[in-house]
Symmetry: C2
Subunit: 291 residues, 2 copies
């Protein structure tokens, strides 16, 4: 099961998920200038980031919006990057936040779990209901794929819907979490977590503790480290003994070269060093929690 592969990757190389939300503006100008074609420049940038971080990260996440914004050429780069990552035996998460039902959901699953855009995991949005998640389960069951369903996101607007308080006193995201855990019960790997995972953001301490405790079979994708204000102490709350979740950073890694004098010439080494720093930062926070 894919969740066991991801669990092992975290155990071996730490919980960092390298977010390839690569905007063309993130490339060092000198590097960009070496290519006629923006798609080719993006791909070669991604390839070097992947090579420099593979040894110290759990997986890679591609935010498809950045590629869609460049039209067909961008999507060709998206496909090539996915293929490169998976060709190296690494895990690729397609951050697509799709959410649609029935035949449409099946078409999306075909699009992102087969063919040119094949990824190992996708992110999904649950607003339409569980019948927008269920059509993906045959791929989880039979094709070794995984899901991260939005539960509690880390943006300010998350309160608008996810935080609405029900009659029972529970918030909407609690109910979504419960249902995601329930859907995942038939897809639990030997590591004790399910291939049906959830996206949970950096929030209050108690909220994080409750989420980790109540959803103890749900593998977490945690955004918001660094650029979105989350600290290692915040994200450590979502990890149990340092596992059971991955922590994404995108700009912090892709733009690490800007923080170092002469970094442009070795942007990949800067990214690799930033991933190691982040991994150690989170591991230290996990250790601090345990003592």
């Amino acid at each position: 099961m894919i969740v066991d592969k991801l669990f092992d990757a975290v155990a071996m190389r730490g919980p960092v998920c390298v977010g390839l939300d690569t905007a063309i503006e993130y490339l060092p100008p000198e590097f960009r200038a070496g290519f006629d074609d923006p798609g080719e420049a993006l791909f070669q940038f991604n390839r070097r980031i992947v090579d420099a971080t593979t040894a110290s990260c759990a997986c890679f996440k591609l935010q498809i919006a950045y590629y869609e914004a460049l039209g067909l050429e961008g999507l060709r780069t998206y496909a090539r990057t996915l293929q490169y990552i998976r060709g190296k035996g690494c895990i690729a998460v397609a951050d697509i936040k799709r959410g649609d039902i029935a035949a449409t959901a099946q078409m999306y699953a075909k699009a992102h779990f087969e063919g040119e855009f094949e990824a190992d995991y996708v992110t999904l949005s649950p607003y339409m209901g569980m019948d927008s998640i269920e059509p993906w389960l045959p791929w989880v069951q039979d094709h070794d794929k995984g899901l991260f369903v939005l539960i509690r996101t880390s943006n300010p607007g998350a309160v608008d819907i996810q935080y609405l308080e029900q009659k029972s006193g529970a918030r909407v995201y609690t109910e979504v979490g419960r249902r995601v855990a329930e859907l995942g019960t038939h897809h639990i790997g030997t590591c004790g977590y399910s291939s049906v995972g959830g996206v949970v953001g950096c929030t209050h301490v108690e909220e994080a503790q409750v989420l980790r405790q109540q959803l103890n079979t749900v593998f977490f994708l945690v955004p918001g480290y660094g650029a979105q204000g989350g600290t290692a102490a915040d994200v450590a709350l979502y990890l149990t003994n340092g596992n059971g979740g991955i922590v994404n950073s995108s700009r912090g890694i892709l733009l690490a070269w800007k923080k170092q004098e002469g970094g442009a010439a070795h942007f990949d080494a800067c990214a690799g060093a930033e991933v190691e720093r982040m991994r150690d930062d989170i591991r230290a926070a996990v250790n601090a929690l345990q003592t």
Copy 2:
């Protein structure tokens, strides 16, 4: 404003939205056989459907999942179909149900309101909160674009989240509707509706009446006619004097040729006749409501 253009289209040609959720299996085999390339076959099929229905529909909606499922070739067909529709001066709705925040939302807006994939309207999913909708507003304001935000969908699973009852007694979708209407107040056209519209499904009679009354500036995209079990009487409740909304049908139109002996040879005429039948069916139901 785009909503005025859509309002006028409904007034002139009726409320039918032709859903180009075109699966390769929907093409008559004889027609399909005339093309080497599935992408070209799909485009030529779409082109003939568009030509045959332009005179009797309000607009076209493309469900992007059907194109994504064919990879880059499918997305090339998606782009060509959009360009063909808009080239004729017709309105194209990109049914993409995206929902992401900040820079990512801006990338999506760039992807679907500019360049190769440019559409007039997009559908959005609100689970992440209003900060996943707000980044699209500059395009509404300055580039004559429109949004349909999911409010109350017509699938059975809609009850899972949208129906959760809050402490106030109101359901989640009511709160979403209120917020969508609020966001739209600065984008109301001369027709009295906003370019920030909403997706509302065929449901109970009272629910539909309340939605139409409470959200009286929200232009509706109503799915679920035909294939999903909605009748003309159901959808008429969402229209005020026959306007203020569009009613989508996809398979009912694309597969109309299967219901007629020898229909394969003139699938486009079958689609055209089905759109006219549907338009008249809805108009009759609207008249019945008014008397």
